[in-house]
Amino acid sequence: MTTNGSGPLLEVENLVARYPVPRWIVGALQRRPKLYAHAVDGISFSLRRGEMLALVGESGCGKTSTAHAILRLIEAESGSIRFDGQEIAGLPPRALRPLRRRMQIVYQDPYESLDPRFRVAATIEEPLDVHDIGSRAERRTEMLGALELAGLTPPELYLERYPHELSGGQRQRVAIAASLVLHPDLLVADEPVSMLDVSVRAGILAILDSLRDNGLAILMITHDLSTAAHYADRIAVMYLGRIVEEGTAHDVVENPQHPYTKALLSVVPKRDPRERTTPQILRGETPNSIRIPSGCRFHPRCPIAIPECRNVDPELRRPAGATAPGHRAACIRV
């Protein structure tokens, strides 16, 4: 792995990503103003080597768009993305290419992400092929090593298999192996276990967890707070394109400050039936990101909102109730 000194591997500052909303022909003829969905609306965070950060939130909160903007799978509207000290927002594709192999993504659905006509060997070799790396023998060693890292042992047994011969958990391990074969520094895991059966999830998450020991930074995107609480070092809770709370997994889960985080935690069902609690259920649903509420974007659903919240867009800062450094929340009431 290559590194440029000791700074964070990834630094994101004021990232904005938006999608145009189609206004169709009639809308264009009537010269209606162009509308945008503000998927990511000014977020900042950093990620160190060997660290796992979980971006947590409900669908439409912008967690996947954030990851895609970082990987330059969509173009950011504005903001800065520094990868290993180098600014990559706006970097031309040619210059981006050597950096691409250092960032990889594992998708949610291993039934969709693997080509059914490719043997495992072909799936894992493809990244090496794209980046023109290694001789035949070297490639084989790399491939076997990646399969082993992903927990498919003995690796030789899997190389000639097709996806349909593998279980869901094994498929996801193949996807992980394909992402590891280039020895990336950053791995984005987009809901890596949500399509899998409960009994195999822990195995996949344990692999991701162990990869951090070699310095791999992991950005995990999930809607599942229990998983984030268990495996991530830090959690950033997103709502409508913003981070509303950020801190160590322990601080965010055990000492939540933002009313949205508190509500979100309260509705997670507990494993132990004796711990049944009355969830604090927010009414309605997340407003869409085309018309973001004024002031604090959470105020229409917030149980503790005051009139001021309609006007003040709160900054992410250290709340009074925080007990540890690095714990930040965007709420004027805490």
């Binding site: 195995g203 599942d224 229990s226 609480a229 069902p269 507990k270 004796r274």
Partner: protein, 325 residues
């Protein structure tokens, strides 16, 4: 008193296109009382959905069934479609997995719920519309939404509408197959709260089919844990979590991360469930079990009583009566 619903020795086979049979449900028994909330838990392919589709008489034509499903003492499987159809929707209704995506996009949601009312002779015309609006109010949808189209509803709203549709004929039993799987946590909480309150208000018995143990722990009174077409263990939720008598139950809970159990290690269960198109010898969980011993590979364990309304199918219970499985 006869329970509201009794499932007795239920077996379901599917004929496979290439010949052979898949024995999806391999003899399951359970009972349900009026107003009770019962969970049917297990991983994909364990037969939980097949079991409840049987109660609705909605299995595909390549399925064959043995055993009884008794509703108030009457075996509704006795004469196939003829005996099950009078009860479908009227007594037993179902919210299907992905039901929120099953609405016809070119018909208003209200008219799609009026249709079963008309077909079952519950209400027609303006009467039906008024009942739909009342149902909508009850499930938390503004009543004026009845004349809107499915695409104008969010996922959570469509799921509420699917529940309203299942309630249209005032059933006694509601079967819900993974009713919150595709929903966000906050919407999931709303739907679970709705199902619980409907069960209470209408004395509606609920069978919640899910792979998600915390959801069952949150909503249900009792549950059955299914594995490879059989019930591995059944009991109160408290017994299943605090005093499991089958290793699969214990391991399934251990594989589920909990928000506050930071220190507890979450462990996966190695291996995969057995193929159901071949005969299973011995305990179906034996190859993955961490407590398997001498009889397990050869002798199929019977479901035995281990406590009050608590049964488990594990040989360990024959040798250690007090120790937990």
């Amino acid at each position: 008193m006869t329970p509201l619903l009794e499932v007795d020795g239920l077996n379901v086979w599917f004929d496979l296109p290439g010949g052979g049979e898949l024995h999806a449900v391999r003899g399951i028994d359970f009972e349900l009382d009026a107003g009770e909330r019962f969970g049917l838990v297990g991983e994909s392919g364990c037969g939980k959905t097949t079991a409840i589709l049987t109660m609705m008489g909605l299995l595909p034509p390549n399925a064959s069934v043995a055993g009884e499903v008794r509703l108030g003492g009457e075996n509704i499987l006795a004469r196939g479609e003829e005996s099950v159809s009078p009860h479908r929707w009227n007594d037993i209704a179902m919210v299907f997995q992905g039901a929120m995506n099953a609405f016809n996009p070119v018909q208003t949601v209200g008219s799609q719920i009026e249709e079963p009312m008309r077909l079952h002779g519950i209400a027609e015309g303006k009467n039906a519309r008024r009942q739909v609006e009342e149902l909508f109010e009850r499930v938390g949808i503004p009543s004026d939404r009845a004349s809107r189209y499915p695409h104008e509803f969010s996922g959570g709203m469509r799921q509420r509408a699917a529940i309203a549709m299942a309630l249209a004929c005032e059933p006694k039993i509601l079967l819900a197959d993974e009713p919150t799987t595709a929903l966000d946590v906050m919407v999931q909480a709303q739907i679970l709260e709705l199902l619980s309150s409907l069960a209470t208000d209408f004395d509606l018995a609920l069978i919640l089919v899910t792979h998600d143990l915390p959801i069952v722990a949150h909503v249900c009174d009792r549950a059955a844990v299914m594995y490879a077409g059989v019930i591995a263990e059944s009991g109160t939720i408290d017994d299943l979590f605090h005093a499991p008598r089958h290793p699969y139950t214990r391991l399934l809970f251990a594989a589920t991360p909990d928000l506050h159990a930071g220190g507890d290690r979450v462990v996966s269960i190695p291996g995969a469930p057995p193929r159901l198109d071949q005969p299973i010898v011995g305990c179906p969980f034996e190859p993955r079990c961490d407590r398997a011993f001498e009889p397990c590979p050869t002798v199929t364990p019977a479901l035995k009583r281990v406590g009050d309304r608590h049964v488990a199918a594990c040989h360990l219970n024959d040798i250690v009566r007090e120790a937990t499985a």
